[in-house]
Amino acid sequence: MNRLWISWKPYLMVFRLRALMETQYRAAALGGLVTQVFFGLVYVCLYTVLYDGADAAALQDTITYVWLQQMFFRMMFSNDGELTNLIMSGGVAYMMVRPLDQHRFWVCRDVGGRLVGAGMRMLPMLLVQLLLPKGCRMALPDSPAALAQFLLSVGLGAVCLCELSAIVDAINMKTLDRRGISAILNLTMMTFSGNVIPLTLFPDSVQMLIRYQPFAQALDAPIRMYQHAAGLPEWLLNVTVQIAWIVVLRLLGRWMWQQRMNDMTVQGG
């Protein structure tokens, strides 16, 4: 147990430091807040017009979805500039003189940045909700249990995203250009995680497919839990799917990083 603790210490420390660093960027958080509130309002107006008073319950669900979407925008859309710079400049090879598991190191760092970055925008946005007129507000969670499920699920979602992001980084190490494939992947991630259009609005025929794919685990899965408290079997299923994707993406990401590291020891940084 003690050895395990020592071996994980540097990774927990990098998580902590990255989280602390994020708190320095208060101005950026304020800017993000304003943007996200603006976009949230635009979406809310849009959907209100679209539903045209047809189904009040469905509209409220969509509005809640939109606000949660905006609250976690920073978590979804985050790019570790330091790692990108290291990859582009070849400096990532020099990281190898540190006795570290590089893949784990950068994933932990990313989780810290994303969670705290999202938290800093989420809390003031909750206050903003109080100022909004009644029809524009998000609904409260379905139940306290739903809130608990949601929070746990958001954490798992962040990890899932960071594992995905590490895969994108491994691709960048190969192509040395972060446009191209990684731009496509980012777009895919935004779309299929529910960050552009709520995944609940997709046709029923594709719902099974769309809610269990990896991107949905980041944002869509937590939001569904917020809106509808699941019974134990359903909840277990949802969490299992999230964890399963984390494991799959993690194994793939580790393997890809290992390949890239091997290339570097052959070709240099």
């Binding site: 090879a93 006795p99 570097m264 070709q267 240099g268």
Partner: protein, 323 residues
């Protein structure tokens, strides 16, 4: 067994490029180029030595350092450091290693440097008390106290280099690699840095391998140098011997009270205002032989002996070695 031992060590990079000739076929055809960065290097370094690695740009210095740090795998030959091959089980190997790459930072850009040192404490699994003691020592030696809580990005180049050094020495490595540590530093910072490295080498017996273009660094720090050129190890030995071999001309500048009689002095004489410039080759005419003759030629008011500038010497050496 020596601390570091390289036998026939070499590294050839493979590069793919479009062919130089041909039309549209260049779209899918590619040429493979083999670029030898280091070939057949043999050397051994004992524990506690302070060795300089010099050579013009592209000579293979960085490749050598990367091979020894385990960042690169060799394409030929082998080397061991303290009985280990660097690229085998790299994570375990680099634990006993420190490295500063002058042009690249290894500390964290956006957080106070103390936080970076905290992270290093956990990376190297150091006991907090041990770490704190070592940090205090390095803070005093390197004068870090004033900016310990400042993010790295706000530091000057000299401060940054000192912080980097601290970061690479916290875990008391057996072996320290320095890649152009004084690049871009002002005179005072350079002197301080050299003094620190000397002390560190003495006090902890740290083996230091230094690459530099700054010959003053070499003179101040290294008794032994390795000269690399075109990927080959061209010289390995004392710095003094190397300089002597290329330091063929000395000049003596003398001012006399009255006009002297220099006809018996076996050096070529030229005038520079009031002063007489005597040029001679120390290999043929020892300074100790020349001096009494100069002194007996007249009453000397002032005298200065000049060796050749080290940079000029090295430039000549590179030229002679056809680099």
């Amino acid at each position: 067994m020596p601390f570091i031992e390289a036998r026939g060590l070499g590294k050839t990079y493979v590069r793919h490029a479009a062919p130089k000739t041909g039309g549209i076929s260049r779209l899918w055809k590619r040429e493979t180029q083999h670029i030898p960065a280091l070939t057949d290097a043999n050397f051994s370094i004992e524990r506690g030595e302070l060795v300089g690695l010099i050579g013009p740009n592209g000579a293979g210095k960085s490749t050598t350092v990367k091979l020894l740090t385990g960042i690169l795998t060799p394409t030929e030959g082998t080397c061991t450091v303290n009985g280990r091959m660097p690229w085998e089980d790299r994570q375990a190997y680099v634990r006993h290693l420190g490295a500063v790459f002058g042009q690249r930072t290894q500390l964290w850009w956006d957080v106070p440097i103390r936080d970076s040192f905290l992270l290093l404490r956990d990376i190297y699994a150091l006991d907090h008390a041990v770490w704190q003691r070592r940090l205090d020592e390095l803070i005093a030696e390197l004068d870090l106290a004033d900016f310990l809580h400042t993010p790295l990005r706000q530091l000057s180049l000299g401060q940054r280099m000192r912080a980097e050094l601290c970061g690479s020495l916290l875990h008391e490595p057996e072996l320290l690699f320095l890649d152009e540590p004084t690049i871009g530093l002002d005179a005072v910072s350079k002197l301080k840095l050299r003094a620190f490295l000397k002390k560190e080498n003495h006090a902890h017996g740290t083996t230091i391998l230094l690459t530099t273009h700054d010959m003053e660094d070499m003179l101040a720090l290294c008794s032994r140098v390795m000269v690399l050129g075109h990927g080959k190890l061209l010289y390995d030995g004392g710095l003094d011997a190397l300089l002597q071999r290329y330091d063929t001309v000395h000049t003596l500048r003398v001012m006399f009270e009255k006009t002297p009689d220099l006809s018996a002095v076996p050096a070529s004489v030229t005038r520079d205002g009031d002063a007489y410039i005597l040029t001679y080759e120390p290999a043929k005419l020892a300074t100790s032989v020349l001096l009494p003759q100069v002194l007996s030629a007249g009453r000397v008011r002032e005298m200065t002996l000049k060796e050749q500038n080290v940079d000029e010497l090295i430039a000549r050496m590179y030229k002679e070695m056809a680099l």
